[in-house]
């Protein structure tokens, strides 16, 4: 093989890789397009939440978790500092002191439209249901990459058990199948939580913002964050004051690893071709100069 053929092979390979990546569909590998499907969602109006923690209690009862003490005495301690969800608390209500006074915020899995956790799971143990629920299956291998990949740190791993599961809110999937509202929505005494199709609750959220100028920040958290989520939050103060991250961006998290995943077929097919081409191209030259190089070897070998 002469130099020209060699360059040709390389050139074809590079061109193939470039055009190939352009032709690949730009849709996320894990994501399900939001346009054609109606996800189920919950609108959380933080201006209405009174911090009674009934949602936490109902959630624990429905999911068979230890039921928390929600008496006033207990609340005093619980609200002292913001909490995170745990393996036994799928939802937590936190208290924030803001420029507009005390605000309570219930926090749980956001059920992203294109969840990072689902995209990162090697065995599809986390599944995005067609209705929007992100639920966990027991074929999980416990690699915990979902915890790394979740922008909200929601999947929680049971460290202290031999058979350890990933625990998180499942948007009351079982109750949904029976046609019942999520437990937290059903018990909320102020209707701070509202369930329905994502489109419907988004509409209601926008209506509240429009109907009450100055009382909400003109933004629904979860509408566009990380490509959208099923939990949508309304707030009277900027969201970074009530424990939300502002740096999330609107790109769905699976997109961040999609670049690599798209490259995998090309690496897998083009690398061997490239290596074989190089080998074939060099072989002749090596054979010709073989005696020479050997001579040189023996020369330097005397060190």
């Amino acid at each position: 093989m002469d130099r020209r053929t060699f360059l040709k092979i390389i050139g074809t390979g590079v061109a193939g890789a470039t055009t190939g990546s352009l032709l690949m569909p730009v849709q996320s590998l894990a994501g399900e397009s939001t346009k054609t499907k109606e996800f189920y969602g919950i609108l959380v109006d933080t201006t209405r939440c009174i911090g009674c923690r009934r949602c936490e209690q109902a959630c624990a009862e429905v999911n068979g978790l230890p039921v928390p003490d929600i008496s006033e005495a207990a609340n005093k301690q619980v609200f002292a500092s913001p909490r995170r969800t745990t393996v036994t608390e799928y939802t937590v209500t936190n208290r924030y002191e803001t420029e507009k006074g005390t605000i309570f915020v219930p926090q749980r899995c956001m059920h992203c439209n294109q969840p990072g956790c689902v995209a990162s799971c090697p065995v599809k143990a986390l599944e995005k249901k067609r209705a929007g629920h992100v639920i966990w299956h027991s074929n999980c291998i416990g690699c915990r990459l979902c915890m790394v990949s979740c922008p909200f740190d929601m999947p929680k791993f049971e460290y202290g058990r031999a058979v350890s599961n990933i625990q998180k809110c499942n948007l009351c999937w079982d109750r949904y199948k029976q046609g019942v509202l999520p437990a937290c929505v059903e018990v909320c005494p102020t209707q701070a939580l509202m369930a329905g199709t994502r489109r419907l609750v988004l509409e209601e959220g926008n209506r509240r913002i429009a109907a009450n100028p100055g009382q909400y920040v003109d933004h629904i958290f979860g509408e566009y964050e990380v490509g959208g989520a099923s939990h949508l939050y309304l707030s009277a103060v900027p969201f970074d004051q009530i424990g939300f991250r502002k740096d999330l961006g609107t790109i769905p998290y699976p997109e961040y690893s999609a670049g690599y995943l798209r490259a995998v077929p090309f690496i897998a097919t083009l690398t061997p071709l490239f290596l074989l081409a190089v080998n074939a191209a060099l072989k002749k030259g090596i054979e010709k100069s073989e005696p020479k190089t050997e001579e040189k070897h023996s020369g330097t070998g005397k060190h």
């Binding site: 915890m147 058990r161 995943l261 995998v264 070897h297």
Partner: protein, 424 residues
Amino acid sequence: MAGEKLETVAVVEQPDKPAEIQIGRDFWPFFRKESKPKGNPATAFNLLSGVVVAFSILAIVYRLFAGLGSPVTNLSQLSPLGLWIGFYIMCGVAFAAGGAVVPFIVNVLGVKKYRPFLRVAVLNNLLTSFFCLVVIVLSFGRWWNIPNVFIGNGFGANSVMFIVLWVFLLTIVTAALQFRPAFAEWIGNTTSRKRAATVALGATVFGITLSVLQQTGVGALLTMAKGKIHPLWYSEMLPVLFFVSSIYAGISLLIMVDAISEKVFSYQIDEEYRNSRFDVMMGFAKICGGVMFGFFALSLIVAQFEGDFAFVNSEMGYWWLLEIIGFVAIPGLMFAHGAQKKNMLTIQTAAVIAMVGILMNRYNSVFLAYNWDLPFAERYFPSALEWIVTLAVVFVQIWAFRWIVNRMPVMRKSPQWAEKFDRD
């Protein structure tokens, strides 16, 4: 442990004629004969490592029954990866990259002087990949489900972890194929040796491809941790950065293995190895120097591109500067200097610093710069048992390496009868 003979063997006998042991029939009697220790097993290193391994076995048994939590690991909800994954999947894979670089030089580029290092590199790759799987079993919470990845109980083909795990499995198979000549020469099976030679190039090419996928894949595992890893370490270019840094990581390890082998396995090392050794080290140093300079430049370009220099003047920024200058630029210069002045000690020192730099870089991504803005009390630091188990796995790997080197022709010359198969 350098300078101490791990196992002392007076003479390495070189059978002139193949023993023609078939795998099925008479392998086990042969294996039983061979597995007896050669030399005195009661060395200081063996005792120390034995204690560590025994202790860690207890820890592992405890972990299987009581889970991953305290006291075995310090893992928490906010730092789920930890030391085991950080050391083996992140660093181990990088150090195994020599198993792709040397076959690339020898079998693809056809530079024969590196040939004596081929089997060492391949063996290292094989063992590291195998022990990576072992550590994966240890550190994954539901390890009994790991076969699900391979048998199709939910193919998560869109997952980076899926690709990484598959590549681990395939790497073991491929590295075993690449190592088959040594194995065949050990049992003295001509048919097997002949067949091994026929697939050599194919296995090499496949192995290199897998290694590229592996190095980039390990970086891609962290691409979705955007916002959790400090911006100086997080980048969407992580796969590329991990790939480039793995090249010098793998070679640095080979330089260290060479330095130690020269003392420990000197009775094994044949004339050809000894003769080409110096040249090869200089060649390695040139590659390392070049790649490290490239990595240094790439890191700076990525940092500039993503606007990360704004973070340099902070606690984490100083740590980053230490890593990028003290553990990439300086050893890179030392490699270049050593290669120019033909100074072995400089190169070996540089290799050690470069390896520490790789450890730092990977640990930073996994836990030091991961959720770095948490208050001190919530930060992760590996527990004592995590360190011990990590050390134990390294010791076991050294045992395995030593056992194989002492029996199969890895560093020593292939037997006479096998040489004719290598005319490719």
